[in-house]
């Protein structure tokens, strides 16, 4: 049987009679290995899965990637508009809907422009070519005699036909070939421009912009009651007081999952408190001693991998240096707690979610709710910025569990502040040990690096478990899936652990720690923030030992011309003076990385000011230079780099999830402070556009270089190095004592 296998679904809600074709396993469809297609076309091969031309001459673009506040839908719209030769005003974006869009997994890892953008670039070029062919037939000329502008195909004699007029003959329910040439960058009119973000006007005027703003007819409000700490069991709860609160519709209990649904939001919040006070729990295991956490992590069972090996001989006169660095647990700490709206109606569950991956989320909901995939639809709606795997997926299951108890009525659930801080999966604590031999020529002769880390990915769509919080607390509890780590070269905990420098001899050992005393998952950059901190701090330590300027020392070990270019550019921009020493309170430092060793190049220079009496570190200024290949939206790229730097300065100076053996202590913004407006550094970014190079992911490019620049600036200022993050007043005072 070689008949094409694909499912077709009709969705009428909101889009007229849209028909989208989904190709399933292409091997099944074709009975042979299909040709490799670029970007996400590979897994979603039908043109009409990506692009639909409407009779009014507009185009509807479908992407599996979702807006997280990073501006991706604007960038993808630019790419589609460019290739289709349509103005942006005639592009509508549909994103992240298990009922309507391609499955592109998670929107994560700075891969959306590379994967979805490449798919849209190639599909757009192909659809444009198909439209030109149709126009050529209609006008009785050859395709090369036609020009296209703003969705209108014109012949030399002035006759014209618009895309909309060709819709009847247009059949995009066909496999992409990726044979049509996308436009050369020199002829780009929309790509490469700082197009204003499409989502900002609604966000500054109180428009409907977020899942939090969804308001469905008959909608109820839910809240959940989480246990005192991980693994606790709900023995009993007196529901009477909660049920007596006016407006309470249902108390929902399934094993140790406890929640409430009410007519009004404040009623649900009061009922939550009433339940919380009356819930009796058998506490789960104690958390580790926080003062020993790094020893604990190093002592837990791990899967070890040696990577990045280069064999070389170490000269006998080499000097050896060694240093150990640590990074604590850090929170995503979204400003808006996670939120979801769910509706259970006629046996079907619809979940509006700010998950980074609606298809992976659906896979978990199928397991947790014991429903068929066809009975669950997950629709993306924007939330507060997430910066990785926060509570978005968890709250979606919570909302679905509540909605299941009140069929026919949608339930909106927003976590309270302490739910988010106490239960989100944090970025893992890590230990990094670096050791190097410095040859008599002042160059690195040997490099050895080890890191210990839990998983940076316990996201949904586990192959052997259910990776959403409430599933573990049901009467029939499901288990968390095994920890995973993305393979090299991107890596997980070992992301950016292999130096980009040209070293004659090196080994990197990734101790992938399996047991997870504290819940962790993906936080923006995964292991790269900690590894670039350690690696680039150690480069400075080696430079000092070699009596070399930190930038000259880096350049002496780096051949990659694009890497050299960003380092040289940021040095110029910051007015770097070779060999400049700090004065005890002020100093500056550099940090560099190529994100994932395969995405954008970023170098940062930071200035710091240290108040030696209080131990406070201030970062007044940071400069950055960025090479992200072909730039889609310069201002959008600048914004991502700026934001990453400020966020990284916040992580670096302030952030640490505190806990004791009784549980997590981070519960609000007082117990987990972040950088404030008066403390934010001024940031200047220089972009190096490379139109002939493919666009590279950039959303996570600056955090690593920024932490390294700040840590190195502190050492430059004071002559003392802090190897344990964050650089908080207690550490600073101890270092300067």
């Amino acid at each position: 049987m070689n008949a094409p296998v694909f499912s077709r679904r009709k969705f009428t809600a909101g889009l007229g009679a849209l028909v989208v074709g989904f190709s399933l396993d292409p091997k099944l469809a074709l009975g042979q290995d299909p040709p490799r297609l670029p970007g996400s076309l590979q897994g979603n091969r039908k043109l009409d899965g990506w692009i639909r031309i409407n009779a009014d001459g507009t185009a509807t673009i479908f992407t599996g990637k979702v807006e997280l506040g990073q501006g991706i839908l604007t960038a993808l719209a630019q790419i589609a508009a460019e290739e289709l030769d349509l103005p942006l005003t005639r592009i509508a974006m549909i994103s992240g809907d298990t009922g309507r869009t391609p499955n592109e997994g998670q929107t994560a890892g700075s891969q959306s422009v590379e994967n979805s953008g490449t798919a849209l670039r190639m599909a757009g070029a192909e659809v444009r070519a198909i439209l030109i062919d149709l126009a050529a037939k209609r006008l009785g000329v050859t395709a090369d005699q036609l020009t296209v502008a703003d969705g209108v195909v014109a012949a030399a004699d002035g006759r014209k036909v618009g895309y909309g007029e060709l819709v009847a003959e247009l059949d995009l329910n066909r496999e992409a070939t990726a044979k049509a040439q996308p436009k050369p960058p020199a002829s780009h009119k929309i790509v490469g421009k700082s197009i204003a973000r499409l989502d900002i006007p609604a966000k500054v005027t109180g428009g409907v912009a977020y899942v939090q703003d969804l308001r469905l007819p008959g909608m109820l409000h839910g809240r959940v009651v989480r246990p005192p700490r991980y693994g606790s069991k709900l023995d009993s709860v007196d529901e009477a007081a909660a049920k007596a609160i006016p407006g309470v519709v249902a108390v929902v209990r399934d094993g140790s999952f406890l929640g409430v649904v009410a007519e009004r939001e404040e009623q649900a919040i009061k009922a939550r408190e009433a339940l919380r006070q009356r819930a009796k729990w058998t506490l789960g295991p104690e958390l580790p001693d926080p003062t020993r956490i790094f020893d604990v992590i190093k002592s837990l069972p791990s899967k070890d991998a040696t990577i990045g090996v280069k064999q070389g001989t170490v000269p006998p006169n080499a000097r050896t240096l060694e240093a150990v660095y640590t990074k604590p647990y850090m929170a995503h700490a979204s400003i808006g707690p996670s939120c979801s709206v769910a509706e259970f109606k006629d046996g079907k569950m619809t979940v509006w979610t700010h998950s980074q991956g609606v298809f992976p989320l659906r896979a978990e909901l199928v397991k947790a709710l014991k429903l068929a995939p066809a009975a669950i639809r997950c629709v993306h709606a924007e939330g507060s910025g997430c910066y990785g795997h926060n509570g978005a997926d968890d709250v979606a299951l919570d909302a679905a569990l509540l909605a299941r108890a009140v069929p026919g009525r949608p339930v909106r659930l927003q976590w309270m502040r302490d739910d988010e801080f106490g239960w989100e999966p944090y970025g893992p604590a890590m230990v990094m040990r670096a050791k190097a031999a410095l040859g008599g020529d002042g160059k690195i002769a040997d490099w050895e690096y080890e890191l210990w880390s839990n998983s940076h990915s316990t996201r949904p769509q586990s192959t052997d478990g259910t990776n959403v919080l409430a599933a573990w607390y049901l009467a029939e509890p499901q288990k968390m899936g095994p920890p995973t780590s993305p393979p090299q070269p991107a890596g997980g905990g070992d992301r950016n652990s292999i130096p980009l420098y040209d070293l004659p001899s090196q080994r990197v050992i990734h101790h992938f720690v399996q047991d997870m005393p504290i819940r962790v998952s993906a936080l923006r950059t995964l292991g790269a923030y900690a590894n670039v901190f350690a690696l680039e701090s150690f480069m400075d330590e080696l430079a000092i030992a070699a009596g070399a300027d930190p930038i000259a020392f880096r350049l002496a070990h780096l051949k990659d011309p694009r890497g050299r270019a960003v380092i040289e550019a940021v040095a110029r921009k910051a007015g770097w003076k070779e060999g400049e020493k700090g004065d005890g309170t002020r100093g500056r430092g550099i940090g560099f990385s190529k994100y994932k060793n395969l995405a954008c190049y970023v170098a940062c220079v930071a200035d710091v000011e240290v108040d030696r009496a209080s131990g406070a570190v201030r970062v007044p200024r940071v400069w950055a230079a960025v090479d992200s290949g072909l730039i889609i939206n310069p201002d959008g790229l600048t914004s991502q780099i700026e934001g990453g730097i400020v966020q990284s300065v916040s992580w670096t100076l302030k952030e640490e999830v505190r806990f004791d053996k009784n549980g997590i202590l981070a519960r609000d913004w007082k117990s987990y402070p972040i950088l404030t407006m008066p403390e934010a550094p001024k940031v200047e970014v220089e972009l190096i556009n490379r139109p002939s190079e493919r666009p590279l992911g950039s959303g996570e490019g600056s955090q690593g270089p920024a932490v390294a620049a700040v840590a190195n600036a502190f050492a430059n200022a004071t002559g003392k190095r802090i190897r344990d993050l964050p650089l908080n007043p207690a550490r600073v005072k101890a270092a300067l004592a």
């Binding site: 997280l68 506040g69 990073q70 501006g71 204003a196 973000r197 989502d199 900002i200 006007p201 609604a202 966000k203 500054v204 005027t205 109180g206 428009g207 409907v208 912009a209 977020y210 939090q212 703003d213 308001r215 409000h221 009004r264 939001e265 404040e266 919040i269 700490a333 979204s334 400003i335 808006g336 707690p337 924007e382 939330g383 507060s384 910025g385 910066y387 927003q414 309270m416 502040r417 201002d635 959008g636 914004s639 700026e642 934001g643 990453g644 730097i645 400020v646 966020q647 916040s650 609000d668 913004w669 007082k670 972040i674 950088l675 404030t676 407006m677 008066p678 934010a680 001024k682 940031v683």
Partner: protein, 155 residues
């Protein structure tokens, strides 16, 4: 029971208990999306509205406390079609990533510009010290407020 309040110049009556935080009345009864729930603890500023021109945290302000006052939300400043100078400046500076904090930034900035039409950068930073942003959009927000001050000065 019903309680009355005046929001963006219009008197409204809502079926809420007097101790209901103003935030939920604005969002759920009056269907105004601008003010956001961030912490419920007056720590982050996402829920900021003006009451008689003063920036208050609507998440901890009981609706009964504003029964005599005039509440202004971000919807009361302007619209996509007719944005307020601050809203326009935030668009011009692209001063939002996720934008969840933006309401609080604009409302706190409104209070600042009403009492100090020509703020310095330091004034802006101080005025927004209790408004948290997580995306790192701080520099653009500061520039947007300074731009709004300048553009208001010209008109």
């Amino acid at each position: 029971m019903a309680i009355s309040l005046k929001v963006n110049g219009v008197s409204r009556s809502v079926p809420a208990e007097p101790d209901t935080p103003l935030l939920y009345v604005l969002r759920n009864d009056l269907e105004l999306n601008g003010a956001k729930f961030g912490c419920g603890l007056a720590q982050c500023g996402a829920c900021t509205v003006l009451v008689d021109g003063k920036a208050v945290r609507s998440c901890i302000t009981p609706v009964s406390a504003v029964a005599q006052g005039e509440v202004t939300t971000i919807e009361g400043l302007g619209s996509v079609a007719k944005p307020h100078a601050l809203q326009q400046a935030f668009i011009d500076e692209q001063a939002a990533q996720c934008g969840y904090c933006t309401n609080g930034m604009i409302m706190s900035a409104k209070e600042l510009l009403d009492r100090n039409p020509r703020p310095s950068e330091g004034d802006v930073r101080s005025a927004l010290a209790d408004n948290l942003c997580r995306c790192g959009t701080h520099n653009r927000i500061i520039r947007a407020v300074l731009r709004a001050a300048q553009s208001s000065g010209r008109t």
